[in-house]
Symmetry: C2
Subunit: 446 residues, 2 copies
């Protein structure tokens, strides 16, 4: 589960050798540390207009140093490229070139963040071209950054502006080390719903959350981060994982519940447990999933059906039950685990990819059911994550898979968990029906 | 411009060596040949419902052998997976497993084609999950096929059904060798517009088309295919390419026009030329484009601005002029060249990716202006294509880039041209505002 190569090229003597040989040198990523500042330096806000002013004020309210013009040679923590007023392709030029001129001053673990409007919502062809052009620029730029720096975008849907709480939430997440492995992605803010936390390190205080498949790996990591953020956590897994599950429950001072999620009464048992112990259920993390890989030419119905049943149908059934229950908060949040395999497909995974693509469709269609009550449902699509599962891959395949992302390394279960905690927070209520990749800008996509 | 490795692993002695060593063995693709049948064997139509019946009839009307059940060991030319009535994830199982059971019987250069409904248009979460699940299945399956076989999908938007002319057009294109390098993609049929050709090998008979950047490479190839399909072709390029342009014009029995497309009067000059020589202009292919690669940290305004001006702003200006002109047909068709770089971004190409992403935005927003008059605008996004430009890449980079697609090879300019000719045909009028990748299912995507 450790990336020996990553350690090698970042320590003393071997670091120098790797440098001289011109080997890829993945950086140690800047991850969340409450003792460290939000961003490793001042934030340069490029671009004109109301949003640029609003975001500069937001940053100042967080005690960040803000620059509206680059100071030569000053080390920067982040660069905001505010382009939401772009009307023609020509409007991108100044901000793009100014950002380029400051790139050498970006600190290791620094951030580039674009702010734009959705291309699909523009009626004028020139405006649509400008908006989509930002997408191409940002994704290319993310490929160019080094030193663990990332580039992501915030997209303001029609009817929202930079004062929406979820804009601040997305900005805070992207600037912070919590988003370490999110790269080359866009977060769309669909509404002004949401409330900022009193304390950004206790963003889930007072909430009750359930995490399925929580006995180990990514699920256990999610339980830990939700607990760290102040939530009461109910960890769920199959009876066979009971011992590990109990250990996780103890660690997060939560409660363990042995449930087979494919059973008809799974949601009812979770709801009953939550009602009894905590009085309410606010957050559901659908993490449990299985793989039964085979080429479709060799696929049998038991492999196909079990993957669809566990990874997808169980969630459809449980969501319906949660939404119909009094125990599940009006403003409840659901986060499902998708996968880059569900976006790009993957050889030997027709069944798994069908289930994970299905999650993306489910999330999009369920979002309108949650929006009117102040709730939300989103998916997170991990790329190559260092887990027991990937540790069993052949060594060379694993090495190649790690390097195929712009960050040249696999992510950690923690990275997926941080992103889920962000989407589960009240501040993120304006983000609904979306998929956020946690993949280091893994190149697989189509 | 030739793929020596591809030739090597497909000829006699060296083929056997490659086989024994377990090296990747990209297949020689099945390309369009009027002397050969549309599909290399009977078509197996899987799935139930009206669309399956309609498509089976369509195939019969083309004198294709159709099977509704697999005959053991019979060599198949194509498998249609008709799933447009899927309402839950469980509805995918039978068709997927039946397709899997017949995969070994698929001929080299065979085809898998799914028929489905848009996931984004489903309101019911289970239906949305099922529909999007087809996406994951198809993309995975495309990764698994060998022998130059491909897998693509036809998506029937709400309000259309399998009787729409563009469904037949897309089916014909995907079954044929014209779609050789289109893999892992979906073609969405948005309306019942369109008219099938009397002769499928003269799909552009009587039309006048203009192709920009036509002096060489992909542009020249487009001119040749449009000519082959019966169009009068006006080839356009900058004055500096005059000699080559004249040669292409002669070859396609068309006319040459030296125009700098960034000039304000570019469209007027094209329109005047078309009006004078042919009386009308029916098809515009925006192919001209430039690259000025640099990391954004080293980008200067001349590199940035020139790429945006040539690749994007010129098209916005020309489209406005075409749409305002009497010479441009009411049912005019526009096809623009995008790029996988505009979808996924590319290191060193912030400017180029901005322009090519911009094309995608432009096409989407211009489509509603053309739809009411029976016209259409779409983009084609080539992946790695064997051209003079890619021949100048370092040898190892080129080898790797070729193998990163499911077809394990680069495409030919011809493959891009065939796809453009398809989108420019009257039969394809129901396809509007979309982007079709011609990339062999190149893995780059995000």
């Amino acid at each position: 589960m450790t990336d020996a190569y990553l350690n090698l090229v970042n320590s003393g003597f071997t670091k120098e050798i790797a440098k001289k040989l011109g080997l890829p040198r993945p950086a140690v990523l800047r991850r969340f540390d409450p003792a460290k500042p939000l961003v490793p330096g001042p934030v340069l806000v490029l671009g004109k207009g109301e949003s640029a002013d609003t975001l500069a004020s937001t940053l100042l309210s967080w005690q960040q140093d803000v620059r509206r013009h680059a100071t030569p040679k000053e080390r920067l923590g982040a660069i905001l490229m505010v382009l939401d007023e772009a009307l023609t392709p020509e409007d991108l030029s100044a901000v793009a070139l100014d950002a380029g001129a400051s790139l050498r001053d970006l600190a290791p673990g620094g951030r580039i963040i674009t702010v734009s409007r959705p291309a699909a919502e523009a009626q004028d062809p020139a405006a649509a071209a400008a908006r989509q052009g930002i997408d191409g620029t940002l994704r290319s730029l993310a490929h160019e950054l080094r030193g663990g720096a990332t580039a992501n975008g915030i997209v303001l849907a029609n009817g929202t502006d930079a004062t929406a709480p979820s804009v601040a939430a997305a900005l805070h997440f992207l600037l912070s080390g919590r988003s370490a492995y999110v790269n080359g992605q866009f977060i769309t803010i669909g509404s002004a719903a949401g409330e900022l936390p009193a304390d950004w390190t206790a963003s889930l205080a007072g909430k009750t959350a359930v995490v399925t498949g929580a006995a180990r790996g990514i699920g256990a990591s999610i339980a830990r981060v939700l607990h760290r953020e102040g939530a009461n956590v109910i960890v769920v897994d199959v009876p066979a994982a009971g011992e590990q599950l109990a250990a996780v429950a103890n660690e997060v001072r939560g409660t363990a519940l042995q449930v087979d999620i494919t059973r008809d009464d799974a949601a009812d048992r979770i709801l009953a447990h939550a009602a009894e112990r905590y009085g309410h259920l606010d957050i559901v993390i659908h993490n449990a999933g299985i793989t039964r890989d085979k080429l479709l030419a060799n696929m049998d119905s038991s492999r196909w059906d079990s993957v669809l049943a566990v990874n997808l149908s169980s969630q459809l059934r449980m969501n319906a039950a949660f939404l119909a229950s009094e125990t599940f908060s009006r403003s409840g949040r659901i986060v499902s685990l998708a996968s880059t395999s569900g976006i790009a497909g993957n050889r030997g995974q027709t069944n798994y990819a069908a289930s994970k693509a299905g999650i993306i469709g489910m999330v999009r269609a369920t979002a309108p059911l949650l929006a009117p009550r102040g709730g939300s449902i989103n998916a997170v699509a991990p790329g190559f994550i260092e887990t027991d599962m990937t540790a069993r891959m052949p060594a060379l395949t694993r090495q190649v898979a790690r390097r195929l992302s712009s960050l040249q390394q696999g992510g950690l279960p923690l990275d997926v968990a941080e992103t889920i905690a962000f989407l589960a927070s009240d501040a993120a209520a304006g983000i609904n029906g979306t998929v956020l990749r946690v993949c280091g800008q893994n190149m697989v996509g189509a």
